[in-house]
Amino acid sequence: MKFICVVLFSLLVLTTGVWAGGFENNNVGLKATALGGAFRALADDWTAAYYNPAAYALIPDNQFGGNAAFNHYRNELIPNYRRISPTDAFETGFFNDRSIYNPHEILSNPSGGLVLRAPLAGETVFGFSIYQPFDYNITWTLFRPLTAYSNGYKFPGDQYQTNLDVVAFQLSAGREFKEEQLYLGLGLELLRADLIFTEITFRDNPMPAPFDDRPYELIPEWTKSDGYGWGFGVRGGLLWKPTERVNVGITAHLPFDINISGDSSNLNFYLPDVADTAALRAAGYTIGTIGFLYASGAQINALADFETKLQLPPSAGIGVAFDVTEKLTVALDAQYMLWSQFEGFNFEYGNFSQISRLVDTSLLVDAADTTYTRDWVTQNTSHPVDWENSGRAMLGAQFQATDLFTLYAGGSIDQSPARNATQFTPNFVDTGDKLGLSGGILFHINEWDFGIASSYTSYPELTIPAIDSDGDGVDDSFPGTYKADTYETVLSFIYRF
C-alpha cells in the first residue's frame, strides 16, 4: 500500500514543475527543481550559490556536485500574420491558420559547483560554481515568400530564433553572524552571455507602382546575429533561523547590463522578381539601375559587426521553510523580478565587411543608387519588448522516506512579464501566468547523493491580435495563437568529503 501511494504520488507530480518568467532559468539543481523553486530558506547544497549564498554557512561538509538539466520547449504557434484592411486580410507568406511546432529538441543545461569549508577567515565557507541564471532557446520556421512573378526563394529554417545563454562563474562565501540564528552570504559573478538572434522583418519596397504591387509591397529581411559579451553581477543572501524548525531566507540579485558584440551579423534581403522586363525597360529600369535591382529577384547579403545590449533584470526573493516533522519539511518562497529593465534588443551594425556586389558601383551605374541602396541595406534593426515586472510564488515539500532516499514535490505560480505586451513575437514565447508542478527523488548512498527530478510548466493559450500602432501597414507584433509547455528533467550527483 505504501508503495502504491508512492507511485501515485510520483505520477501525480510528473503531470504537473516550474519555469521562470521571461528568460530566467530558475531551476539550478535537483532539489530546487523538485521543490518548485522554493529553496531560498533550505539551500542545503552547492546550488545555494544561486538560491541563497548565506546558506553556505550551514553546509556541514565539503562537497562538489553537478547537474545535467534537459529542457524540452514544446511550443505551438498558429500564425495569423496577414496584412489587414478594413474588409480583408491578405496573405503574407506566413503559414497562417496552421499549427506550427518548434523543432523537437532536448536541450542540455549542465551546471556544477564546489563548496569548501576552508579554515579561512574564521568560519567562512567558500564555494565556486558555474551555472546559467538566464537561458532561453527557441527556433521557428514560419515563413515562405508568396510565390508569384515566377520566383521561389529558399529561406533559411532558423527564421525566428533566440538562443540566449548567460553563464555565471560565481565565487561565493557564507558566514555565520549570530550563532545558530543569522547567516549572511555573498556571490560575485562573472557573467558570460552568448546570443544567437534571428528574425524576419519587412521593409517597404521603394519601387513605384506597379512594381511594388501585391505581393511585393514589402521586402522580407532576414537577420541573424551571433555574438557574446562579458559582464558582472552580485548576489546576496541572508538566512535567519528564528526557531529550530524555521528558516527564513532573503536574497537579492543585481546583474549588470552586458554589451554583446559579434562580427558575423547576416543581413539578407529577398528582392521582388518582376517578370515583366518589358515594363521595367519601358519605365527606364534597365540593367544597372536601382529600379532593375529592386525587381531582379536577387538576394542582397551583407555581413557586418554588431553590438547590442542585454539588460538583465535585478530580482529579490524571500523564502520560509518549516520542519513539520522530523522527516517532512515544507517551504514557501516568493520572488519579484524587475523585467521592465529588459527592453529587447537593438542591433547596431557597423564595419560591413561584405555587401553583395549587386549594390556595388560596378553593377549600379549611378553612384547615388549605390549610396541609397547601401543606406537601405545597412540600417540598424530593433526588436523591442514591453515587459513588466513580475512576481512568482513557490511551494515545496521534502519527505525523507528512508535513509536511502528523499522525495520532493513542489509547485509554482509565475506571473508573466509579457502579460500585457503589445510587441509579442515568436522570439520570446511567454504567453501568460504559468503554473508549474514538479517532483523528484534523491538517493543517499554513503558519501554520494544522486537522483532525478522532473518539472512541467503549463502556459496559458494566448492569442495576439494584429496591431499596427504606427499605421505603416506592418504589424507591431506577430499575430497568432501561442501555446506552450515546458518539460525539464534534472539528473544530479553530489559527493561529500
Binding site: F3, V6, V7, S10, L11, L14, T15, H72, R74, R83, I84, S85, P86, T87, D88, F90, E91, F95, R98, S99, I100, Y101, N102, P103, H104, I106, T141, R144, L146, T147, A148, Y149, S150, G152, A209, P210, D213, R214, P215, E217, V274, A275, D276, A278, A279, T402, L404, F405, I441, F443, I452, S454, Y456, D468, G471, D472, G473, Y487, T489
Partner: protein, 432 residues
C-alpha cells in the same frame, strides 16, 4: 542490496517512462510543396483573325497577341495525357498586355493550385488590351442587332473583337491545341479587370451560349451610373478634357483632342469612341490583288453630325483617314446623338436582353472595392443591382475588398490575391 531496492528501481523506471512519453516528436508541421504543374505558357500564341483585325490601328500583321497556359494533362505525351480541359479567357485592363496576368503571378498560381488540387487543370488564355488608344473595351464590329445603327461593319479600325472573343478565338484554340478544350458552356469561363471586366460581360452577353462563368473586378460596367451611385463615365468627361486643358475650349482647340500616354482618360475615350462612335461606320473594302492579299478601302459610310468629330487619325498605310466622335462636348456635357444612341446602346444594361435571360445559368463573381478609381466602384454597384434585382434576379457572388492602410485598392494592386479566388470560382463552376 537493500530490501526495497526493487521498488525504488521500479519507481525510478516509472518516472523515466512518464518523462519520455511526454516528449514525443511532433515534427514542425511546416507545409510541404508537393510539386508544380509541369504545364506552361505557350508564348507564341499570336494569331491572324482575318478579317476581324484587317483594319485595326497599328497592327500591320493583323495579329492578336496572347499568353496561353496549357496545363500538363492537356499536353501531348509523354509530358501530358492529351486530355481536354476547361477554358478560361482573361481580359486585361487598359494598358495591360498579354503578360499582364502572368505579371501578377498567374503562372505560378496556376502551377501551384493545379498541382495541389485547389483548382482543376484549365487552359488559360490572356488577351491584351490593345495599346493603340487605350484599348477599345474589347468592342468592335458594332451591335449588329441594333437597328439604330448604320448597317454593320466588317472590320472596324478597332478590330472586330465581338467576333473574336467568344467565337473565333475559341475555334482557334481548339485548332492549335488539337481539341484539348472542352466544348460546352459550363466548361468555358471568362474574366477581366477594369475595361476587361466590361469586355468579359460584353462577350458573355453577345455570345450568350458560350460562357458558363464570369469573374471580374471593378470596371466600366454601367456607363451612366444610377441614382445615388454617380453618373458613371459621364463624371469623367471633365477629367478627360482637363487632362489636356481643353475644358471649355473653343471648337478649333477642342478638335485637337489628342491621345497621349500621359492622358489615360483621354486615351480611354478615344479608343472607346473608335469602337462605339467611329466616323467611318462601315468600310467597303476589296482584295485588289488576291495573290498578295492586298486589301484596299473603296469607301465608307459616315456619321454626318460633326459637333464632336475629332479628325486627323490614319490607319496603316496612311491610305485612308479615320476619325471618331467623342460622346461629350468641349464643355464636358453629353452630346446626345453620340452618347445616347451610340454609346449607351453598348452599355451592359442595354446589352442585357430581358426576354432571353442571357446570363441565366451563368455563375458570376464580382470583386469590388469602394476605393476603386474612375467611378468604377459605383458603376459596379449599379451593375450588381441590375443583375440581382428584378426582372433578372441573377445570383451574383460579390467579393467586397479594400486595400491595407497606405495602399488603397484604387486599381489592380490586389489582383494577385483576387486571382486565386477567381481561379477557384471558375474551377468550381466548371464542375466535374
Amino acid at each position: 542490496m537493500p530490501k526495497n531496492m526493487k521498488k525504488i528501481s521500479a519507481l525510478t523506471l516509472l518516472l523515466s517512462i512518464a518523462l519520455v512519453s511526454s516528449c514525443k516528436d511532433r515534427g514542425t508541421n511546416i507545409p510541404v510543396i508537393s510539386g508544380l504543374d509541369r504545364g506552361g505558357p505557350w508564348t507564341t500564341g499570336n494569331h491572324v483573325f482575318s478579317p476581324q483585325l484587317r483594319w485595326q490601328f497599328d497592327n500591320l500583321l493583323e495579329l492578336m497577341p496572347m499568353w496561353v497556359y496549357i496545363p500538363q494533362v492537356a499536353a501531348d505525351p509523354p509530358l501530358g495525357e492529351s486530355r481536354p480541359v476547361p477554358l478560361l479567357i482573361l481580359l486585361a485592363p487598359q494598358g495591360g498586355d498579354q503578360f499582364y496576368f502572368a505579371n501578377h503571378g498567374l503562372e505560378i498560381l496556376l502551377k501551384e493550385m493545379i498541382a495541389d488540387g485547389t483548382i482543376q487543370p484549365m487552359l488559360v488564355v490572356c488577351v491584351p488590351s490593345d495599346p493603340a488608344f487605350g484599348g477599345y473595351f474589347y468592342a468592335g464590329g458594332y451591335n449588329f442587332e441594333h437597328t439604330a445603327k448604320v448597317n454593320d461593319s466588317i472590320s472596324p479600325t478597332t478590330g472586330n473583337y465581338d467576333n473574336i472573343i467568344g467565337k473565333d478565338l475559341i475555334s482557334y484554340l481548339d485548332n492549335i491545341t488539337n481539341f484539348r478544350v472542352l466544348d460546352s458552356r459550363q466548361k468555358r469561363g471568362i474574366g477581366g479587370v477594369g475595361n476587361g471586366a466590361y469586355g468579359a460581360f460584353r462577350a458573355a452577353l453577345i455570345h450568350d451560349t458560350t460562357f458558363g462563368s464570369i469573374t471580374v473586378t471593378d470596371g466600366p460596367l454601367d456607363f451612366d451610373g444610377a441614382p445615388g451611385l454617380g453618373n458613371g463615365l459621364i463624371d469623367l468627361f471633365d477629367d478627360a478634357l482637363n487632362e489636356q486643358n481643353l475644358l471649355g475650349a473653343n471648337n478649333s482647340l477642342f478638335k485637337t483632342f489628342d491621345s497621349s500616354s500621359l492622358w489615360p482618360l483621354s486615351k480611354m475615350f478615344i479608343g472607346t469612341s473608335f469602337a462605339f462612335s467611329p466616323h467611318d461606320t462601315v468600310l467597303y473594302d476589296r482584295n485588289s490583288n488576291p495573290n498578295a492579299q492586298l486589301w484596299v478601302i473603296d469607301s465608307t459610310e459616315i456619321i454626318t453630325d460633326t459637333t464632336t468629330l475629332i479628325p486627323g487619325f490614319t490607319s496603316r498605310g496612311a491610305t485612308y483617314r479615320f476619325d471618331y466622335h467623342l460622346p461629350f462636348t468641349s464643355n464636358g456635357l453629353i452630346h446626345p446623338p453620340i452618347w445616347n444612341i451610340l454609346w449607351m446602346t453598348e452599355d451592359l444594361e442595354n446589352l442585357l436582353d430581358t426576354t432571353t435571360n442571357k446570363l441565366n445559368g451563368v455563375n458570376v463573381w464580382i470583386a469590388t472595392s469602394s476605393e476603386a478609381n474612375l467611378n468604377y466602384y459605383q458603376q459596379t454597384q449599379s451593375w450588381i443591382n441590375t443583375l440581382t434585382n428584378a426582372p433578372y434576379n441573377y445570383p451574383v457572388t460579390v467579393r467586397n475588398y479594400q486595400g491595407v492602410p497606405g495602399n488603397p485598392a484604387t486599381g489592380d494592386q490586389y489582383l494577385y490575391d483576387l486571382l486565386r479566388e477567381m481561379l477557384i470560382f471558375h474551377s468550381e463552376s466548371f464542375g466535374n
